[in-house]
Amino acid sequence: MQITIAGHHTTKVGELWEKGLADLFQEAIGGSVKNAGIDSRQIDQVFVASKAPGEFNNQLHLNALVSQFFNHFPPSMRVEGACASGGLALLAAEQAILSGYCQTALVVGAEKMTDTTASNATRILAMAANHDAENGSTFPGLYALLAQVHTEKFKTSREMLSAVAVKNHTHALENPLAQFHREFTLDQVSQSPLVADPLRLLDCSPISDGASAVILTGRKMKNKPKILGFGHAQDALDLASRKDLTTLRATVQAAQKSYQMADVRPDQIQLAEVHDCFTIAEILAIEDLGFFDKGMGGRATLNHETKLNGKVVINLSGGLKAFGHPIGATGIKQVVYLAQQIEDERYKLGLAHNVGGSGATAVVHVVG
């Protein structure tokens, strides 16, 4: 059975002061149903992704909140896996369709993050780390440790990290839904305020509001993008329990599974939306996904091999860095972006890579 992306919609991403969490869900759902051109009663099941609506918005029981947007109240459940919530919700829907439990599922993810202070948002996000083993840590701090190890072993330079941010901000200029439409130079990134050495402000993805939805179906549909493969893997939650900090093992394993299911090789992928929550995360991702040899991701980025018209185009949407990172929506908006590119016949084969925490959860999709 093939899974088809019947419809999709992503909202504008940014500081959406005039929109609440429910507004974002409703807009993404309405947009995806309209895009699919189906009767919403055909949706058998709903999967909802959101990382921390309780902490950000004092709202839980999201499965019921979202089901209420439909006249027929479809069965609905919420999936949470930190920043990989969106990718995991897609997996849940795909497994439900492949098992025959349902035929058509809507997957929607949203996060409304800007109604609190930056320090509180940092505290909420840190709940995705190991509370006991990494108490007091922040995500910039954890990814800074990964960056330090990568730098020490592979001589990944400050300029290479900056090149990721520069590229993704340039790519985002063509994405009207992106949070930022502003170009930066390597120097501007390298000289932005220090957050956690070596990561600076412009190495970090922003705090964002936004939502994204896809309608997946096992029904046969022509001229619509398909989910060709998916993979999911886990690693230790805390960095101290990992065997190697120069690689995210969960990404490697999830990628292998998805390549195997889709029967494709990494060198066949033309376009990849990878989880660049920090610049070092993109460098790790493009190595772990098999696009570049281990230790060469930074150099490849600096050499423009991941830019538009490069060897493999990485984060054409702007990525988490410039498109934005409304956490629950992120894994879904990556797939939505690929689907749109394929529908527009700009690319034939794309990959989406969604990571939870500092790499404990990874979900990879191949779309074509």
């Binding site: 500081e15 002061w17 005039e18 800007t114 109604d115 202070t117 930056a118 305020p193 220090l194």
Partner: protein, 356 residues
């Protein structure tokens, strides 16, 4: 009362700043920030620091005293002629008991006085100016005194601390012998919780980036556009402009959005050297412009108050302003030039003394 058809305006004004200043570099070092990162982002180099015994009442009194002295020089003006006083501030020393009664007593204003303290975050001073103009226009008062003053509060280490400063400006409104004519004014207000301090709390809270687009910019732009439309004027019809200065960046962006140039804005942009004096900021910036503007110049002013609202004004200087100014001294820029820099340690001690 958008467009005003009767004579009303400023007959005298005065300012007051504390004696001390603290460079933002000192604060950056104290808070372990890279030097220049905060000041370059906020476009503020230093801020005034009040002494431990300075507050809204002392600063208001000194600013008003200069206004009265200047008025006295020009036309034998006495404090007894003032019959209305409004003191706008968000740091009134008492929750109950007006600052204005102490200020009035210190200045020797008559007891036949309409007087109240005002509070609307950073626009309390300009709201007082609008009320004073109304008193003159309605013949409730022949002369009315409006003061905007603050000893701005900020929690140590909070983003607000980099700019929270102290200062005051006072304006005597009347209908004859005007230095500056008030041609029009308008206001907007909405329930926008971007910045607040609850009763009993020492320091205000703020909504981070929410204080920008939906708060400051929404209200400043709306009020400004409303008045420009009402007056059938454009940005280029003005010689100077003033927008509330929580930092140096916001007024630049607001001016740009409305079509004003940095040349129009620069003479009033004293925030770079003074910091954010909250309710004192727009009144002080206007005073800095009046300290140098020739006759017949149009000034566009929009103040912003969190919570939130904005007051816009169109002023025009008269021949009287440069003529009288020759007799005055101790201008706003002189006060800025005379600020004495202190270290973070001295600043910390002054702050500790203030709150303990």
């Amino acid at each position: 009362m958008p467009v005003i058809n009767k004579p009303v305006g400023i007959v005298a004004y005065g300012t007051e700043l504390p004696s001390w200043s603290l460079s933002i570099k000192e604060l950056e070092m104290a808070h372990n920030k890279e030097i220049g990162t905060v000041s370059n982002s906020l476009l503020v180099e230093q801020k005034t620091v009040p002494d431990f015994d300075e507050d809204t009442i002392t600063l208001s009194t000194s600013a008003a005293w200069q206004a009265l002295a200047r008025a006295g020089i020009t036309k034998n003006f006495g404090s007894k002629k003032i019959s209305a006083l409004f003191v706008g501030s968000e740091s009134h020393p008492y929750a109950v008991k007006p600052s204005g009664s102490v200020v009035a007593g210190a200045l020797g204003l008559p007891e036949e006085l309409a007087m109240a303290d005002l509070q609307f975050a950073c626009k309390a001073g300009t709201q007082g100016m609008q009320i004073c103009a109304s008193y003159i226009l309605s013949d409730f008062a022949k002369y009315a005194l409006a003061i905007g003053a603050d000893v701005a509060q900020a929690k140590p280490g909070d983003a607000l601390e980099y700019t929270a400063a102290a200062g005051a400006a006072a304006f005597i409104f009347g209908s004859t012998n005007l230095l500056v004519k008030l041609l029009a004014t308008s206001s907007v207000a909405s329930d926008t919780p971007d910045f607040w301090r609850k009763s009993g709390e020492d320091f205000p809270h703020h909504g981070g980036r929410f204080t920008g687009k939906p708060a400051y910019f929404y209200h400043v732009i709306k009020s400004s556009k409303m008045l420009l439309k009402e007056m059938k004027l454009k940005a280029e019809d003005f010689d100077y402009c003033v927008f509330h200065t929580p930092n140096g960046k916001f007024p630049l962006q607001a001016a740009k959005q409305l079509g004003f140039s940095s040349k129009q804005l620069k003479p009033g942009l004293i925030v770079k050297k003074v910091g954010n004096t909250y309710a004192g900021s727009v009144p002080l910036a206007l005073a800095a412009i009046l300290d140098q503007a020739p006759a017949g110049k149009k000034i566009f002013v929009t103040a912003y108050g969190s919570g939130a609202g904005a007051d816009s004004f169109v002023f025009e200087t008269t021949d009287n302003l440069p003529k009288q100014r020759k007799k005055w001294q101790d201008f706003t820029l002189d006060k800025i030039k005379n600020l004495q820099p202190i270290s973070y340690q001295q600043y910390a001690r002054l702050t500790k003394d203030r709150y303990h």
